[in-house]
Assembly symmetry: C2
Homo-oligomer: 276 residues x 2
């Protein structure tokens, strides 16, 4: 059983001189394989390309990646599993400088499906605010690069099951996203989500939800959220490419007694595209 492919080879180790390790100089995609297929593959691919463009990393070959992904997928019997794709700038000399002809590394790894209780989708989750702030850098915002220490520190502020996610704010107090998810708020039948031009990761599921909402005639706006705006929302939910939509049941002192209609409708739309 192939668990990991590195540049097309079934192996599990990489040179320590790879810039992915040396500097976090690369990108990744965490992809849900559902019934033999990656329904959001095109969106993952587009975000990866944008990341390559922003970091001046040579584009990987799409057909080659698809062939390698297929190679792992066809061996697996599970209905749901996770593939993680990492693209790094490859091996290099010591120092930040790189040459245009760096040979990128591509790493595809298999992971089992996370063991989330159904209740998180059905009844919602409990969310906290993280103390670790998100820094701002327009050149790194939106893309899924390998510099993830802020998320690592934020996620490890709690180690109980009392919370399913933590929200991250900028030093200026803007709510940007969760450690592993994006956030949406419904207010007066409109859908809002934080803009990500300075911080945060533009999730593939976030993009899907925005499209599905627009197709359903729900107006969607990107805007900065403060904590109090979050807590005054009519409905609140998280998104990521694995779990789809988790309604927020409790955040800070705000308790939502039932999952809202727009959340429920979008959940159904998402589950049509991404069967659980």
């Amino acid at each position: 059983m192939t668990e990991i492919l590195i540049n097309g080879e079934a192996k599990s180790t990489i040179s320590v001189l790879d810039r992915g390790l040396q500097y976090g100089d690369g990108l990744y995609e965490t992809m849900a394989v559902r019934y033999g297929d990656i329904p959001l593959w095109e969106s993952h691919w587009q975000r990866l390309l944008l990341g390559c463009e922003k970091l001046s990393i040579p584009y990987p070959e799409k057909e080659l990646l698809e062939k390698e992904i297929q190679l792992i997928c066809k061996e697996k019997k599970e209905k749901l599993f996770v593939l993680k794709l990492i693209i790094t700038r490859g091996e290099g000399n010591r120092g930040y400088y790189f040459t245009a002809d760096q040979a990128i590394s591509r790493i595809i790894s298999y992971h089992s499906w996370p063991d989330y209780p159904d209740q998180y989708q059905d009844e919602g989750v409990v969310v906290r605010y993280c103390d670790t702030t998100l820094s701002e850098n327009p050149r790194l915002a939106g893309i899924k690069h390998l510099n993830r220490l802020e998320q690592v520190l934020a996620r490890n502020e709690w180690d109980t099951d009392d919370f399913q996610e933590g929200l991250m704010l900028t030093q200026q107090g803007h709510v940007i996203d969760g450690t592993m998810s994006n956030i949406f708020a419904v207010k007066d039948n409109k859908l809002f989500t934080p803009g990500l031009s300075k911080s945060g990761v533009a999730g593939v599921m976030r993009k899907t939800i925005i499209e599905l909402a627009k197709n359903s005639g729900i107006p969607v706006y990107e805007k900065d959220f403060t904590k109090s705006e979050v807590e005054l929302a009519d409905e609140l939910f998280l998104s990521n490419s694995l779990f789809g939509i988790w309604p927020i049941r409790i955040i800070a002192k705000t308790r939502y007694t039932k999952v809202g209609n727009i959340t429920r409708d979008l959940q159904q739309e998402v589950n049509k595209v991404c069967p659980q």
Copy 2:
């Protein structure tokens, strides 16, 4: 000849599941070996410990590291070379969450001495301002962690020999450091260097210079620099643990006709501790 030691073993590859690659979840030190010895080892070690503390990474064993460093050093005949030490949080499951008992990875690699012309020390270097900004996060400031995309992007804004270093500013316009160095300014016989509580790396050579200056009776202050304050300095220089002190000869439109006295004195002091 041992070029790389990973957890004490002479090999050159590491699991792609290591969190150093997955998230840049680790720290590093770039150390000058001079005539068989690392003169600034204690300072490197102290910064590494501070980094471990800030990131909640278990401390490596000092004696073990020293033994492994010696193992590489004793085989080498070069007067000057570089050892890079990387400590990561080790292998983990997918996801940002880590457990307290993670087994860290320690990687020590040999690198040849960079080929800097003597003229950089003697006559000074030409420096530019980078467009890539440094983001602010007090939890990550000062330590030498593996999330270095900002430095990678900044260093690759130029690819000619016209500049030897680029200065990085925050979005607010504060000059913090160079892509691979710290900056000092002399004004009215006082020494100034930017504070690093929100951004930047607190260089081991920076610490050494501050101590040497204080010992020589030169008052040292940490303060925020603007571009114009940089350009109005009487003397200006860069520091890093390999090259020691490089006077700045030209920055933006400011041209220094000769290397200042305080710069020259500190250079001599540094070269006593760290022979070139």
